[in-house]
């Protein structure tokens, strides 16, 4: 029957949309890896009755484990531990040893804030040392400890800051209580295919075809999602269904050979990073204004192949920094293939690179014309050994969409030019 879990995200700041929840999705991914079925994620504010209602809903959904996030802080609106204690029918007791350990952490922390009053801070944090009787304490990563409370369901109380939660998760998972609660889980495999340049409806059509062609198709749990202008096809199956999955990938690659660029889950960012090993890449960005450089340097070790980039928003900057001929801009306009090519060529020279990617476009809302409406973006990728590709596209969406999709298109053009031999 397997193991089911639910996630209860707490925090008025999350519920009211002032911060996006990163913990629910992250924990969901961990559960999936473990082969634990996730039933529901609920988000509620810092109101005890709402947190209690969410815990009951998850329990009624028949989950074996509930993971809660947030509400472990020092402020009065942090009350998750108290609500969970009541939900599990346990007393709250002060863990004196834990209180000392929190104090030690805070003393170090306070050094960063010469102004702060240590006693006031300690008072604020004393409540963080109150834990449900018999619960297993998870040592603080920040200042907030987590707790694991055995029961039906077992409740794992985790902190709100993603960095703290992610660092605390292994300890939570390792507890005897959690291991017992998830002992019945089934192992699943999960594999990801990525496509670029296929409309979702056409993929849907191919999947309907696969349904009739692939033996055991119904043993594959397939979800498709459109993200950053790409299609992601994630399939979850029990190991025995592997042949069906292989058959599915064959149908998909048959129908979308050009667009199916990843069958091992690697993102275009992963592939470009691998292709850039041993190279020196530079960026020249106008409308994306640094997004591509930031994306390339997202990952550790990128300094080995990223030499730098120019954000050339103004025409003057295009000429002064990348040596784009003002006459070229005057003749074709700043958003044109010749200017994109000149920007890439300039980036190769300026940053002494062997590969360069240039983006110039109209992100809007202003600046569009009949001839070049908002969403018109020109791309050019060049290698010093000659391989090159230049394209002009019309991208849909608002300013943010256009800027982000442009960075995705740039990554794919970079990929295709790096693949040329």
């Amino acid at each position: 029957m397997g193991t089911r879990a639910g996630i209860v995200v707490t925090g008025t700041e999350v519920l009211t949309g002032r911060i996006a929840d990163r913990n629910g999705p992250w924990l969901a991914d961990r559960l999936l890896e473990l082969g634990i079925e996730l039933a529901h994620i609920t988000i509620c504010g810092d109101r005890p009755e709402d947190i209690a209602a969410a815990l009951r809903f998850q329990a009624d959904a028949g989950v074996d484990v509930i993971l809660t996030t947030g509400g472990l802080g020092p402020t009065a609106d942090d009350m998750t531990v108290a609500v969970v204690a009541e939900f599990s029918g346990r007393e709250l007791v002060l863990d004196v040893e834990l209180e000392h350990r929190i104090a030690a952490i805070l003393r170090r922390l306070m050094e960063r804030y010469p102004g702060a009053d240590f006693d006031a801070v300690m008072a604020a944090n004393r409540k963080q040392a109150l834990v449900p009787a018999g619960a297993t304490v998870l040592e603080p990563v920040g200042t907030a400890p987590g707790v694991v409370v055995a029961g039906a369901p077992t409740v794992v109380v985790l902190p709100g800051p993603p960095r703290e939660l992610q660092a605390m998760w292994p300890a939570a998972l390792a507890t005897h209580t959690v291991q017992q609660a998830i002992a019945a889980r089934t192992q699943y495999r999960q594999e990801t295919l990525r496509m670029f340049g296929v409309p979702e409806s056409e993929l849907a059509d191919t999947l309907r075809l696969a349904e009739s062609r692939v033996p055991g198709f119904d043993r594959l749990e397939i979800t498709t999602c459109l993200r950053r202008g790409e299609l992601e096809i994630v399939t979850r199956y029990e190991p025995a269904a592997e042949p069906s999955y292989r058959a599915l990938t064959e149908v998909l690659s048959e129908h979308h050979r050009r667009e199916l660029y990843s069958t091992d889950g690697a993102t275009v960012d992963d592939q470009v990073a691998a292709l850039l090993a041993g190279r020196r890449v530079a960026t020249a960005e106008s409308c994306t204004a640094g997004l591509v450089a930031a994306r390339l340097t997202d990952r550790p070790g990128s300094s080995a192949y990223v030499t730098g980039g120019a954000v050339v928003y103004s025409n003057e900057a295009k000429s002064a920094v990348l040596g784009v001929d003002p006459a070229l801009i005057a003749e074709h306009g700043a958003v044109s293939e010749p200017v994109a090519e000149a920007m890439a060529a300039g980036a190769l020279r300026r940053f002494d690179a062997d590969t360069a990617v240039a983006i110039t476009g109209i992100a809007g809302p202003g600046g569009g014309t009949d001839e070049k409406p908002v969403g018109t973006v020109c791309f050019s990728v060049q290698r010093t050994d000659g391989a090159t590709r230049t394209e002009m596209l019309l991208l849909p969406g608002g300013r943010a969409d256009i800027r982000e999709r442009s960075s995705t298109v740039a990554m794919h053009l970079l990929r295709s030019v790096l693949l040329e031999t």
Copy 2:
């Protein structure tokens, strides 16, 4: 008694964390503005029984309106409308007129995909024209129409792509059905204060003090949250409690005069954008590698004051592009205040700017030393008329945290230098 609402987010890709939900938080904000109490956001996968359970949970929580997002696409795993129809006890009927309008949209859309098979796409999209009997149709923004189904609770079915959902929301809100369902709402005010450089525990202490000092403190619903390294204090209250709110802000500004930088909800990005009007700003980034340039150009019209920026990841680029003396780097290291100053000065010259901000640091995980551990970041802001500020900080967190916090620190330094007269 007011109006309560619940949000049901659907989509296995959201539940499993492959895409972060942007709709729940966005809708939550809209509800808050309308003075509608949000009880719960639930997220579930594309399983009819789970969607139905979430709808029942919200109904049991006594909400007047349920907003659903996602599951309106053409693929088989898109089933929200069918589940809502059953939940509301209505038949699904084909809206022929709607089907024609969707076909027209798709014909235009297909032009972007020369390869695509129009009939296949139409077949996939026919189900999008099936609506619950008697429901109000919300015209498609993409290809998916939304629906409003009157009842107790009233259900508003919205698409998953944030751009489509946000564009469709005004039409949903304008429907007679929704207006009736939310007629009983109370109007609240919501105001936001922002602080930079205060530990959350110290703010908690100040709030406890305010509790004893501010008459009618309990009529203020205060939530504090730490985001992007800043503290955000959002207070919600009925108009009559305005004097209490004023008193609260006095206590806070008294205790955190230097750190309280915004009392009108404006972000540091808003303030910097306003201060940059009529100026020419340039960026010089190493560890943030374009994040600050991308952040400055986030908003429409930024091309009026952003001239450009340099991403100088390698030492060679620092010298070649910004004219940083290699001897300076050799003497002090690439991550040092002198080099940050030289980068800012170089950006002023190179981009013919009157204001420049430079960031150079160690984002990690590699590259740290005992003397300069991971998280060491140097900032320099300079104006051609002489105003300048340079700082070295040690920032906590992982690579992504350090890069993002660095961009926030850079915005605050920029602000403080722009405020100098």
